[in-house]
């Protein structure tokens, strides 16, 4: 790629939790570099340390030992407020449980990160939120509340919320964990499409199928990266969707097609 500095650069990161007299080593020295435009899947069983890694990558937590640079900015040792501002400016989060504000319309949910922006630039937050929702194919659902949307649609609102600040990095923590298999493929198609548009994506998952849509897989076990390899046989979610529709024998337009055309 270009000579730009990597989006993520962590080296020799350790995370130790002290519980009473016990020390729990969640991460025991992790090195990882993610370049701009990559789409990587972090895989590991529960207790492997992948959640801790995710929290550190997401600037929700800081490493005990080691250094972390996000987009060239040193994160380790930052204050709570500085971390909050960095999350707002550089990161987009997508969670397993969608984590939308209940009883709050889709557009209000998407607008939220812009309200916490401290850069001081004047923007039409309403318009940006609407555009972001349009980008994930929900341009016609602006005023729907989460309870009126399906799981897949809720997750798209969450993705729209993550994208609205034009983050450097999109962090997705088990984004398909609560979705059925077809919606999972739809979601991966959206992620692949966004990645094709140049957005750097880090997926945390324990499903090997989902990881196959990424460009690179990082396996975590016992607080260490045990394998870091490119995906050999990368799957294309858009193709898979087409196959799914064909297999069902219904040639009619799948609702998912619209999102591929989007943006």
């Amino acid at each position: 790629m270009t000579t730009q500095q990597p989006v993520i650069e962590i080296s020799a990161v350790q995370k130790v939790y002290v519980m009473g007299s016990n020390k729990v080593f969640a991460l025991r020295g992790v090195d990882l570099t993610v370049e701009r435009g990559e789409m990587i899947a972090v895989m590991g069983a529960s207790g492997s340390g992948k959640s801790t890694l995710m929290n550190i990558l997401g600037c929700l937590d800081v490493p005990t030992v080691g250094s972390y640079s996000l987009d060239g900015i040193r994160v380790d040792g930052m204050s709570r407020n500085a971390l909050a501002d960095l999350r707002n400016a550089k990161l987009g989060f997508v969670f397993q449980g969608f984590n939308l504000l209940a009883r709050t319309s889709a557009i209000d949910n998407v607008e939220l990160p812009l309200l916490y922006d401290r850069s001081g630039q004047k923007r039409d937050t309403r318009k940006l939120a609407a555009e972001s929702l349009d980008r994930v194919g929900l341009g016609d659902r602006l005023d729907h509340q989460p309870s009126e949307l399906s799981g897949g649609q809720q997750q798209r609102v969450a993705i729209a919320r993550a994208l609205v600040t034009q983050p450097t990095l999109l962090l997705a923590d088990e984004p398909t964990g609560n979705l059925d298999s077809r919606t999972t493929v739809e979601m991966m198609a959206l992620f692949q499409e966004l990645n094709d548009q140049g957005i750097t994506i880090v997926l945390v998952t324990h499903e090997p199928d989902v990881a196959q849509y990424a460009k690179r897989i990082v396996d975590v076990r016992d607080g260490r990266i045990i394998r870091d390899h490119p995906v050999v046989d990368r799957r294309c979610a858009a193709d898979d969707l087409r196959d799914l529709d064909a297999a069902r024998g219904s040639g009619d337009a799948a609702p998912s097609d619209s999102l591929v055309e989007a943006a």
Binding site: N55, G58, L60, D61, R80, N81, A84, D85, R87, N88, A89, F93, F95, N99, L100, L101, A102, R103, T104, D108, L112, P113, L115, Y116, D117, R118, R161, T165
Partner: protein, 404 residues
């Protein structure tokens, strides 16, 4: 973060939980309402008492005989009168801070009109008396200085006397007998009602003091001289002037005063300070409910922080600082309690009006009470909202996001 966005976030959050907001506000509504009603009652009572005392006469100074001593035994105030009509005349002539002076000679007597008769108090007074007592005639006119000078047998009736002796006819110009002396009725005073002691002030007949002295009581000594100062501010100075004129007139040369001088403001002050204590007490009791309302807000806010842990986690994950979350929750608490305060004002005013209507109590609420009630409810929101807000702000985003 902009102030307006903050307000928007807080108010939408309040509106999202209408029932909870309403229940939370209820405590403040009742608290502020109670304070307003109690202050209204206390204040109303105070102004009613002031009005009653004002009815006794404006800026009134009363000169009464002093105590007399006989063989070492002090016989108490008023036991021996050395006040004379001359004292009253001297006061009238020499007074600079007051212009209205009237001696008062009183005696009880039977008043007779044909078949009807009525026992009442006859007051011998000067022409200044109506002005001093702030009392005017409702029909006819008061007697004049020439009537006083000539000791004419003219009388002005109080309403109670007039209605008892002249139930169906016009008393003006009629003849009545006071004791055995015939008097001509020249006027009727307007109704004045009871005084603060519960006495019927309309049960009286007013005649020139000269006439009263010569025809009715026969005493040269008089029991009372009423003086009215020109303005309420000069009360103390006027009282001092009255004393010094009296001392000269009685040639006391530094000896103990043989008279006492009192004014109505002393009585008024005593009465209003009593009601002030009462209304203060009522307001203090009512403000306890305001504090209880504040604790209600804290309670709900604490529950709400727990209930909304996930929301707080989301907000923090997408870039809210701890201070943003703190301000949001604090603004929510303040807006709720201010809103409750404003509604409480309405409830308080309505309650005071209803109470006044059904009990007949005088109620009035000073604007300062309104300002204090609203300000206090805002302060209650801030005070009791701070702890829950700080709790919300100090949550760990990772744990808050995982909170089920």
């Amino acid at each position: 973060m902009k102030q307006s966005t903050l307000m928007k976030i807080a108010t939408t959050s309040i509106l999202k939980n209408k029932l909870r907001t309403l229940l939370t506000m209820l405590g403040i509504v009742i608290g502020v309402g109670a304070v307003i009603v109690m202050v209204a009652i206390g204040n109303g009572a105070q102004s009613q008492i002031k009005q009653q005392i004002g009815g006794l006469g404006t800026n009134l100074i009363v000169v009464m005989p002093g105590a007399s001593q006989q063989g070492g035994a002090n016989r108490g105030a008023g036991s021996y009168s050395r006040l004379t009509v001359d004292d009253a005349k001297l006061l009238k002539q020499n007074g600079t801070l007051f212009s209205l002076v009237s001696p008062v000679v009183n005696t009880r007597s039977q008043v007779i009109n044909g078949q009807l008769n009525w026992q009442t108090t006859i007051y011998g007074v000067s022409t200044d008396y109506p002005d001093i007592r702030n009392w005017t005639t409702s029909s006819g006119s008061f007697f004049g200085d020439d009537d006083v000078a000539a000791s004419r047998k003219v009388a002005v009736l109080g309403q109670t006397v007039a209605s008892n002796l002249f139930p169906n006819s016009n008393p003006i110009g009629a003849q009545v007998r006071i004791g055995s002396e015939p008097f001509t009725v020249v006027g009727v005073m307007e109704a004045k009602g009871q005084n603060a002691g519960g006495q019927d002030q309309d049960d009286a007949v007013l005649v020139p003091y000269t006439t009263a002295q010569t025809r009715l009581s026969g005493f040269v000594r008089i029991p009372q001289i009423l003086v009215s100062t020109d303005s309420a501010d000069q009360m103390t100075a006027a009282q001092e002037e009255v004393s010094s004129i009296m001392r000269d007139a009685h040639r006391l040369n530094g000896g103990p005063d043989d008279f006492t001088v009192r004014n109505q403001t002393e009585i008024a002050d005593a009465m209003s300070s009593t009601t002030k204590v009462m209304s203060g007490l009522l307001a203090a009791i009512a403000s306890i409910s305001l504090v209880v309302g504040g604790i209600g807000i804290m309670n709900i806010m604490l529950v709400s922080v727990t209930e909304r842990t996930r929301e707080i986690g989301i907000r923090m994950a997408i870039g809210a600082r701890g201070s943003d979350v703190l301000t949001q929750f604090l603004v929510e608490a303040i807006v709720m309690s201010l809103l409750g305060g404003v509604i409480g004002l309405g409830v308080g005013f309505g309650g005071a009006a209803l109470l006044g209507h059904f009990t007949g109590w005088a109620t009035s609420t000073p604007m300062s009470a309104v300002a204090i009630a609203v300000g206090f409810s805002g302060a209650v929101g801030m005070f009791f909202g701070y702890y829950p807000a700080r709790k919300a702000a100090s949550l760990n985003p990772i744990q808050a996001l995982r909170y089920e």
